[in-house]
């Protein structure tokens, strides 16, 4: 009797241990980072579910004519953004109205899109699927198509215990994959963990960053998750008022979600409308292009002053946010399975 108890305790301890080890592999909070916003209890990660999400992310079946996948606008090597296009290109070569943002560390984000129109990561995918300029499909129809494939019903059965595909499981799977897109191993992180050191130039750049930029691009996520007006003059052809479009509150006019700067080296073009091609243009904006309006953030009302040398130093620091391990992690690439 006692023996069996001991054995069963041992077994459950081992099971528990392997379970926690497995969990750690699927998602870990990097040291010193805040708690994620995403409620993992409502959608616990499993390898199978992440794998379905990954397949869906790369599968053009999500678009009306099977030409466009999430990956069309969110490429891994550019931190899951759309390189070289100011405004995203979608189905039938139609051009959207905004630049696709990088997809990193989404578990820490509360609101999505440049204006916060989407209130939860799970329902994010609905927007591109239904958008006339992006994938031009409906979730109802996507489900019918997935159900008719030879592969997906079995995968869903394995992952969710039911081969009947629903909107809920499709969306939760896509979330699972996106939640794993954690970038926390750039040189910056290694320096913070004491595994590396900044060069003199980088260190000077870091100080300049903390003084001029960190109030909005707050460490360690390099965004304070707020909506701010950083002084971009309104583009007359797009007339994008940002957050105010959603809240219809004049105090939110021209405010956009503060983007992360992680992997910024590879996520050009920059800003919600992709107006800047490189980091030098971005810095020039902060130094001399800031447009004053009633909602301009107080930090930028004071002005940003950087000499030519300081600009180089600041860029040198920004490049330490490049996380090659993330950009080339095969777990995030197209699934060859």
């Amino acid at each position: 009797m006692r023996k069996t108890v001991v054995i069963s305790i041992l077994c459950s301890a081992i099971a528990l241990l392997s379970f926690t080890v497995k969990k750690q592999l699927l998602f870990t909070i990097p040291e010193g980072w805040p708690k994620p916003v995403y409620d993992f209890k409502k959608n616990p990660l499993t390898e199978q579910k992440i794998e379905i999400g990954r397949r869906l992310f790369y599968d053009p079946i999500l678009s009306r004519d099977s030409t466009t996948s999430c990956n069309s606008c969110h490429l891994q090597y550019t931190a899951f953004t759309h390189v070289d296009h100011r405004l995203s290109h979608g189905i039938d070569n139609r051009i959207g109205t905004r630049n696709s943002p990088a997809l990193v560390n989404l578990a820490w984000s509360k609101l999505f899109m440049w204006d916060g129109a989407v209130n939860h990561l799970d329902v994010q995918a609905l927007a591109p699927i239904a958008n006339h300029d992006e994938m031009d499909e409906s979730l109802e129809h996507v489900i019918k198509k997935l159900q008719a494939t030879s592969t997906y019903p079995a995968l869903f059965y394995e992952a969710f215990g039911d081969s009947v595909i629903t909107g809920e499981v499709v969306l939760k799977s896509i979330s699972q994959f996106m939640l794993t897109l954690v970038s926390a191993n750039a040189k910056y992180d290694k320096v913070k963990r004491g595994e590396d050191t900044f060069s003199v130039k980088e260190a000077k750049g870091y100080a300049l960053f903390q003084k001029n930029c960190a109030s909005c691009h707050a460490e360690p996520l390099f965004t304070n998750m707020q909506f701010e007006n950083n002084g971009l003059p309104l583009d007359d052809s797009l007339k994008d008022i940002g957050r105010m479009k959603i809240t219809r509150n004049a105090a939110d006019s021209l405010k956009f979600k503060v983007p992360t700067l992680r992997n910024i080296e590879f996520s050009q073009p920059y800003m919600h409308d992709g107006r800047f091609k490189n980091l030098s243009q971005v810095l020039n904006h902060y130094i001399m292009g800031v447009s004053h309006s009633s909602t301009l953030n107080p930090r930028l009302q004071k002005g940003v002053y950087l000499s030519g040398n300081e600009k180089t130093e600041l860029v040198a620091f920004l490049l330490t946010l490049t996380d090659k391990e993330f950009l080339y992690n095969t777990k995030f690439s197209y699934s060859k399975k």
């Binding site: 409620d39 409502k42 959608n43 129109a117 989407v118 209130n119 939860h120 990561l121 799970d122 329902v123 609905l126 927007a127 699927i129 239904a130 958008n131 409906s138 979730l139 109802e140 489900i143 629903t166 909107g167 809920e168 499709v170 969306l171 939760k172 979330s175 959603i246 809240t247 219809r248």
Partner: protein, 228 residues
């Protein structure tokens, strides 16, 4: 499949209420001129104009029963999508202990803000039901679509997508009605009365949260009544 049908059947009737349990059927009936609305059939409006309904979908949530002003039952996980295209969705069966007495029922027309910000949910709340806005998150609490010569729009269509959960554009409406105990309750939604309170010549395309949606939702909620 047979099994599935069996389950549906079970949900459709109260007959299987077990032991000391009883079950209260609430039937929702959109009406016009005192008769149940038939979708895609034209009805007369005042002054020779006409109207037809193609879609009537509405969320009913948080069903609560009262006796003498005191709450006696709150349905758990209470989210139901009524869809006039599908008769069986129009009746809800609330199970309760038969010792419970009630004289009022209360429910929300729509989905509360906490649920609206909880990500992908299942059952009637599944975004694949076409009642979740894609480009700006949130449920469409009620969807009424149809045609009327009063609407100077493409094909004379009107589309009332009443939603919005965030203050100040929260369009969720509370409805509280006195009901008889121990009988099937028909809750009628006289759409003729609703249209007499809304000017569809002007308000015929509500597709996003805002004060228009709030005002029209309030008007819709105001016509719900118990059939005598």
């Amino acid at each position: 499949m047979k099994l599935l049908l069996g389950v549906v059947f079970l949900m459709l009737t109260c007959r299987f209420a077990a032991g000391a349990e009883t079950c209260v059927p609430l039937r929702f009936v959109p009406t016009y001129g005192g008769k149940p609305v038939v979708l895609e059939q034209y009805y007369q409006l005042h002054g020779g104009d006409s109207v037809m309904f193609e879609t009537f979908k509405c969320y009913i949530s948080d069903i609560t029963f009262y006796k003498a002003g005191k709450q006696v039952l709150k349905e758990k996980n209470s989210y139901h999508l009524l869809n006039a295209e599908n008769e069986e969705t129009m009746s809800l069966f609330i199970h309760m202990d038969d010792s419970i007495h009630y004289d009022e029922v209360q429910f929300n027309m729509g989905i509360d803000s906490a649920t609206s910000t909880s990500g992908a949910l299942g059952g009637d709340l599944d975004p694949a039901k076409g009642m979740f806005w894609t480009w700006q998150s949130g449920y469409i609490n009620c969807k009424i679509e149809g045609r009327s010569n009063l609407c100077k729009t493409r094909h004379n269509e009107f589309q009332l997508h009443l939603g919005g959960y965030a203050v100040p554009d929260n369009s969720l409406q509370e409805v509280r009605l006195t009901i008889p105990e121990g009988a099937e309750v028909d809750i009628v939604i006289p759409l003729d009365k609703f249209l007499s309170r809304v000017d569809i010549a002007k308000q015929n395309a509500i597709m996003s949260p805002g004060q228009d949606a709030v005002v029209v939702a309030r008007k819709l909620a105001s016509v719900f009544e118990v059939k005598k």
